[in-house]
């Protein structure tokens, strides 16, 4: 039989990030709001002290959660996001020009990341035509409709969170905690994943794997998930 040691399983987030960090790097971080965040890896990223980061993430976390942790330590110098409404600290650092901000429409952001991972340097989309987003971008009329050219995005390091993963790096996500994680996994020069349940190779159904192991360089079992709820809304019945 073939050698099945993928050398991808690490014992701690610190070990998993070892050698992959440098000042000024670009990091993608999965999650939507506080849902599906790589909590352990973000904590470890904070503790590493790496700085001057460009962070690509749909949101900027909240105070005390997600990327909010890296704002407190002023490790982020630029953010590429679609919505940062829930973070006062972000607002403060933005207004004081400590942070540069690039807003992308959420679907354009997701597709730019997908394109980056798929080797597509640029694609046309109707999203943002006639708005500030289209400024300085190439326009093209195709079959009578106007589009703008958007570029693919890649990262030096992508941090993703899945529900289950095996030691070959295969990942399965749960419910809406999937969100940006699978595309970010494809778009990292290196991708590190954290999972709630680590499995032996062969335990996952190959038809159900959302992220094939090829995209995951290192994997850890995450601990102590806070899984904070940003907006608890209950039925009144």
């Amino acid at each position: 039989m073939k050698n099945n040691d993928y050398k991808k399983f690490y014992n701690s987030p610190e070990d998993a990030l070892e050698g992959l960090l440098f000042d000024g790097m670009t990091i993608m971080s999965g999650g939507f709001g506080l849902c599906g965040l790589p909590e352990n890896l973000i904590l470890s990223l904070r503790d590493s002290g790496v700085k001057n980061l460009t962070v690509i993430s749909n949101n900027a976390g909240t105070e005390g959660h997600g990327l909010g942790l890296l704002l407190e330590t002023k490790q982020i110098s630029k953010a590429i996001s679609s919505y940062v409404g829930e973070n006062k600290l972000f607002e403060k650092q933005y207004l004081s020009k400590e942070i540069e901000l690039e807003f992308n429409p959420q679907g354009t952001l997701a597709e730019r990341i997908r394109a980056g991972g798929a080797g597509i340097p640029a694609f046309f989309t109707a999203t943002g035509v006639g708005t500030l987003v289209s400024k300085n971008k190439e326009h093209k009329t195709i079959k009578g409709k106007e589009y703008i050219l958007e570029s693919g995005l890649i990262s030096d390091l992508s941090l993703v969170k899945a529900w289950k993963g095996d030691k070959a790096g295969n990942l399965i996500y749960r419910k809406t905690a999937r969100n940006f994680n699978p595309v970010m996994a494809t778009a990292g020069k290196n991708t590190v994943a954290e999972v709630e349940e680590i499995c032996e190779v062969g335990e996952l159904d190959p038809d159900q794997i959302h992220t094939p192991g090829i995209y995951v360089k290192r994997i850890i079992k995450g601990l102590n998930y806070s899984k904070a709820i940003e907006n608890l809304t209950l039925s009144e019945d």
Binding site: C35, S81, Y83, Q106, A110, V133, T176, I229, T233
Partner: protein
């Protein structure tokens, strides 16, 4: 007199046809879900990666892995499916969603929509709004007819930065229903609202 929020949502819900796949924006549009005719088969999409969105959970049944685009806890339904953000916006951009209902700050007579930023104020981001208006088959704006200071929101030209150009198909306000079709055409007027007051409260010409 005019429609209250419940009446506005009820009127908007009539635009959801049997078999429709619908995306409801954050805020008042989310409330439209409460007024959907149970005889109709309507599937709600949430752009963070779900089709078949169910109601808010009962106390204790919330799941942090299951939220909508407004980051509210929700539930699933038997027909639900989950997918990535890229797949979700492929669905939106590809024209597979029948209807999107969004709020607005301004709508122009050409159907231009402004709903994401006010110059000089902190910008929170456009989220998925630009993708929705560019991709969804039909865009319905649900908003108060006038801003808090009384200024009209249906205008000749938006002076706020746009979310999309020529994207709005229908507007429902507390004063009536308006179709964008070579100008702003009045389809319905709310109870006890006069034609004259409607004209006074609208910047652009109304076609009756």
């Amino acid at each position: 007199m005019s429609w209250n929020r419940a009446e506005m949502c009820k009127r908007a819900a009539l635009e959801l046809k049997d078999g429709f796949y619908v995306n409801l924006g954050i805020g008042m549009p989310t409330l439209v879900a409460n007024y959907i005719d149970k005889q109709k088969n309507i599937t709600l999409q949430s752009e963070n990666g779900m089709l078949g969105m169910g109601p808010f959970p009962k106390p204790g049944m919330q799941d942090p892995d299951l939220i909508n685009a407004g980051k509210q806890t929700i539930t699933s339904l038997p027909e639900s499916s989950y997918f990535s953000s890229a797949d979700s916006f492929a669905m939106i951009r590809g024209g597979h969603i029948d209807l999107s209902i969004l709020g607005a700050m301004q709508v122009s007579k050409q159907g231009d929509l402004a709903n994401w930023m006010i110059p000089g104020k902190m910008v929170k981001g456009m989220g998925g709004a630009m993708d929705l208006v560019a991709g969804v088959k039909k865009v319905l704006v649900l908003m108060d007819h006038n801003a808090k200071d009384g200024s009209p929101k249906i205008v000749n030209n938006c002076d706020l930065p746009l979310t999309g150009k020529k994207v709005v198909d229908l507007i429902i306000t507390n004063l009536g229903v308006f179709e964008i079709n070579q100008g702003v055409k009045v389809k319905e007027i709310a109870d006890n609202v006069t034609k004259e007051s409607l004209i006074n409260k609208t910047e652009t010409e109304l076609l009756f």
